[in-house]
Symmetry: D2
Subunit: 363 residues, 4 copies
């Protein structure tokens, strides 16, 4: 009955299937007076887009966002921003052979169980194409956050078993420095050759590779997060686990800190040279009791390898008969680099929502 | 402005501070006709209660739930169930020495930043006492789920660095067997001595220990979970990260599967002896595209070690002056075993909500 | 922060300004399996459209609804239905003379106070054009209701001081008969000449006329309405007062019954020839304690005369200087007949929402 | 599935039946820093209470509100305020004779149809006792509004067919003067004898009398109300129609203005002596396009006569058999005076919610 609305003071609703006429959404609650940076919007859309890296799908979609309302003379008016992104490159016929075959790891079976029917072509509503509406809305939210001094940046922190050390990247974020950019969005130059070899190996074998994304927001004021169910980390966790193919979330040091002792995990308070209270370390990821503490907010998200392989996989039909899936669609060997702007977008939506909500908490 | 309401078709709102008159809540949307099992309710409350294990706080609270409405002759009427749990053992004076001192890892600083003031005594709204209202409501939700054949069971899967192998426990769950019970709720008898030694060592050193809880729900029908933002795993992630002291969540094999290849992670479909479609493996934790697939739903939650130590910790005051915190309150060496019923309660709330929502998805 | 979302199990969000690129919306929660009747959709859109009656604005908009998602092979899939209605006849320059002049009765002043800026052209978000998205969504909701035997029909029950007797129209509704149709949607042939004379007189004087709409839904099962804040009449009242230019709402006999005694107002129960319990009269409008009782649901809505006159009206500018408004836009002498499909649409959204919600109320 | 939650930035959830252990609620979103005036709270509760007037029920309930959380040292903390009101005078046995008899005008039949069962004693959730939780929460909301210069006052504007002229009362409100107080809350001394005679006549005949309440809020800043579905008048209409026994709502001049022409209804702008823009008249009730315009907000609500008479009324049983209802309970001849604080409370909840929401509307 639900599930397509995200947020409370700032709400996003999305709609659209992968191979329909368009995907789109409505962003409601963006305050009036936000300068709309269409170049930034286009840039974020491009970062999500297929066809950028040698190991990514070759499907080409211009992904131009048509902003239909809520903006006047380049400024938000406070009314809802409706937008659509046309599906110009839809090829439903590519998928006709799959109509009754249940693809492993996809939503074919579960959508059928849920709704009693399903979109035969593409992934329907479960397609990653839906996330383009999130990136558009997240870019709008980021324009609002930027005006409040909040910067959000995600990066690939792991590809398959290759993990990058996060301390140095977090340091750059805290210092306001740019991150090393490459097609993998993996800011660890020393490990790039290893990553390339891994992906090439997977490609040759018709297989896919998972990974992780770490995201950091700086400039977040203390006080964001609504106890008890809408803790900052709880909303981030929901936001991240709502992205296709995610399997795991951890705030700050996450699972690693759960194997330690309190004396090793507590972030001790100190007063800095400007007289501001801060923590000496930031293992918590910038939260205490579900509320931001003024330190950088950071967390990690795990993405499973994409389910569509170039290998033949045994399966069954909707009727339960044995069948095979042979991957023919246009799909990525590794989706993780393209998911970075999606993670950033969802982070922006959470933070902008909580920033607005916080305005109502004191008389 | 928000944060105290959880759920959509089934909603819980909680209220109350650790050392006020009472904590409580309202559960709205429980259908009429559910038989209220007060013994089960009392049992779940007792499982959460302090003072059970040698390494837990000695604070004694009877934790009796007074059900004030929504029930007639032992049957739910469909109207909201208001309930309170009196705080009979509140001792605000225990905390007066902390009024201006910021305890590391607690909400003292962030609550002050958020609201401009804070409850001086105890943890205020951030106290784990708030979770007793969740356990009460979750027990009511479980009564509804039990009638629909859904069984939920959590257990401690890791204490500090000691991790129990989950495959065998999941097998027992799938077969409907009871789990090995002990005061640590750690169903791995061979590792118990090691756990006891670890906790005793931490206690002697005045330190605390984190851990993980794994939870499994069997009998969950296929079709639960509302795409795209209210995916089953997204709501579970929010639910779990809203529990005090949690830091991480993973669905099924989680982060481990993100380091693997698609061919190693996909759960392949098969038809079982009864002609039902199922997956051969269940690495996903019982979901595809955010919707339950009929397999057991399972996930893992990470809890940081509790922040209150018996050790002196340096900190600052609310004015930024150097200070010290010496732990004197009544607190656990390891909170994880007591958190099992909280994890179960939140799981029950999510599943009952989605079970009700699913009734509206087909014409 | 809000205000653009309506409903709970079935939710509509709308967006769009009168003279932007398009208005549109997303209808979320329509169950899968509803047959989409595009002809009915087009017909409802046409009924709302300007330019039908001699006394209505001459602005011509084809008002074609583009359904962008959520439908496959003419059947709803259970995923959100995004739709847009292009603004093909926008003429922003018509309004440039109004940029700093505050029109009486319009949202110019209040939007400016609310958002600190406003759409200079047309009514912006306050324009009646926004209601076209409601009519589209309401038509979709009616397709679902029709399949459940619920029929909704509104009519003009008053134009200026001329009021039609409602008893005979309600009787036709209860008997499933068609209502007398005319361009005024005023099913009282004997009073039509009087209405025409009134409107002609107002037109000649450059003035406008208000009126009332009565709406009736038959086939509504007993049990709809969620106590206590979402009573059936409470949601209908919100729905109706959210329509532009409405000023009043009454359920059943409404204010008239408030001047009477209990013995004159109570609807007494009886058992009909089929053994069904019903009320002998239906003064309440088909509700008791906020829940439908199985009788026809009926209510009346009051519309003020439209504020844009062909007369010169004194006013002030946004800076507080004296000014004049001379009506030049394309506007109706009487908006009430065109509002009938809007009232029907909002009624359909309320009833479909409550029909879905009712599925969750019993174990 | 819903219906017990009201509001968005400020949310009230209520629970409780008339003859259970307690009614109560949770008010969530009241900002931190509001001074809690317990005397005002007690006073508002007393105004709602039965037993004040000669024509009201003799049931005596102290109606003491126990505030359980969210307040520290007499100041709100920003966390939810849970509260209960014990039902000390419950006499379920008074109602046992009604168990299978359907009382006309009550929720007996519709609750049974909705939930498949019902509270046998009293009105269950449909009882007016539920409104005591609204009055408590509304009083808390008024404390917040008072600090922002907003004053809310309701009065009885009609009892049966006797209507008081509202212009003079509105003038007193605008001038900040006290209203004439009497047991009927009917500020028209010249008509009091007539009212008394009417009520005495009804009492002798065992009948009941309806009426209307007009409510006015002064000091409301321009800009409150969220277009398009949460217009100020739409939320007020929902709020009012959610009160037991209400049948009608009109904003400002309401239905009367719908029978007039635009030139008679438009409120023209002017600039006052302080250079502020205001309207010369206030027929609209202080709104334009759903947003407050800075003028007093006023509206009228219609209450049907209470359904329980001292007369024998024919009816049927739940099985459809003929039966009789003889009123024996403790009930009012005229409920309208006691409903004044309920109307004020709901008004306060709406305005406080919108005042908080408005903080999020500008960047």
């Amino acid at each position: 009955m639900a599930g397509n609305v995200f947020g409370r003071a700032l709400r996003l609703i999305t709609f659209g299937e992968s191979h329909g006429a368009a995907v789109g959404g409505v962003l409601e609650g963006l305050p009036s007076g936000v300068t709309i940076d269409e170049a930034f919007l286009a840039e974020q859309m491009a970062r999500r887009q297929p066809g950028q890296a040698p190991h990514a799908t070759s499907r080409k979609e211009p992904d131009r966002v048509e902003l239909l309302s809520g903006i006047s003379n380049g400024i938000s008016t406070g009314t809802p921003i409706g937008f659509i992104i046309a599906n110009r490159d839809a090829r439903p016929s590519d998928y006709t052979h799959l109509e009754t075959v249940l693809r492993p790891g996809h939503g074919d079976f579960t959508y059928l169980q849920k709704y009693g029917l399903r979109h035969a072509s593409g992934g329907g509503r479960a397609s990653a194409r839906e996330t383009s509406a999130r990136v558009a809305a997240g870019a709008l939210a980021q324009m609002f956050l930027t005006a409040h001094g909040i910067r959000i940046r995600g990066w690939v922190s792991g590809i398959g078993p290759i993990a990058g050390p996060h301390a140095e990247v977090l340091k750059k974020m805290e210092d306001g420095e740019a991150l090393h950019e490459n097609i993998f969005r993996f800011p660890h130059p020393a490990l790039l050759a290893e990553v390339e070899a891994l992906l090439e190996d997977a490609r040759l074998k018709g297989d896919t590779v998972g990974g992780t994304i770490t995201c950091c927001a700086t400039g977040v004021p203390a006080g964001l997060g609504e106890p008890v169910f809408d803790k900052l980390e709880a909303l981030l966790a929901q936001a991240m686990l709502s992205i296709n193919a995610t399997r795991a979330f951890e705030m700050g040091e996450g699972f690693a800190s759960c194997a330690l002792r309190g004396s090793e995990v507590n972030d001790l308070f100190e007063t800095d040279d400007h007289g501001n209270i801060r923590t000496q370390t930031n293992r918590s990821g910038g939260v205490q009791a579900g509320i931001s503490n003024g330190m950088p907010v950071w967390f990690r998200v795990g993405f499973k390898p994409v389910s569509t392989l170039q290998l033949t996989q045994p399966t069954v039909t909707t009727g339960g008969e044995p069948a095979e899936v042979v991957g023919k669609g246009r799909h990525d060997v590794c989706v993780v680099p393209r998911a970075v702007p999606i993670v950033e977008a969802m982070t922006a939506l959470v933070l902008a929502d909580l920033l607005l909500q916080q305005r109502t908490n004191r008389a």
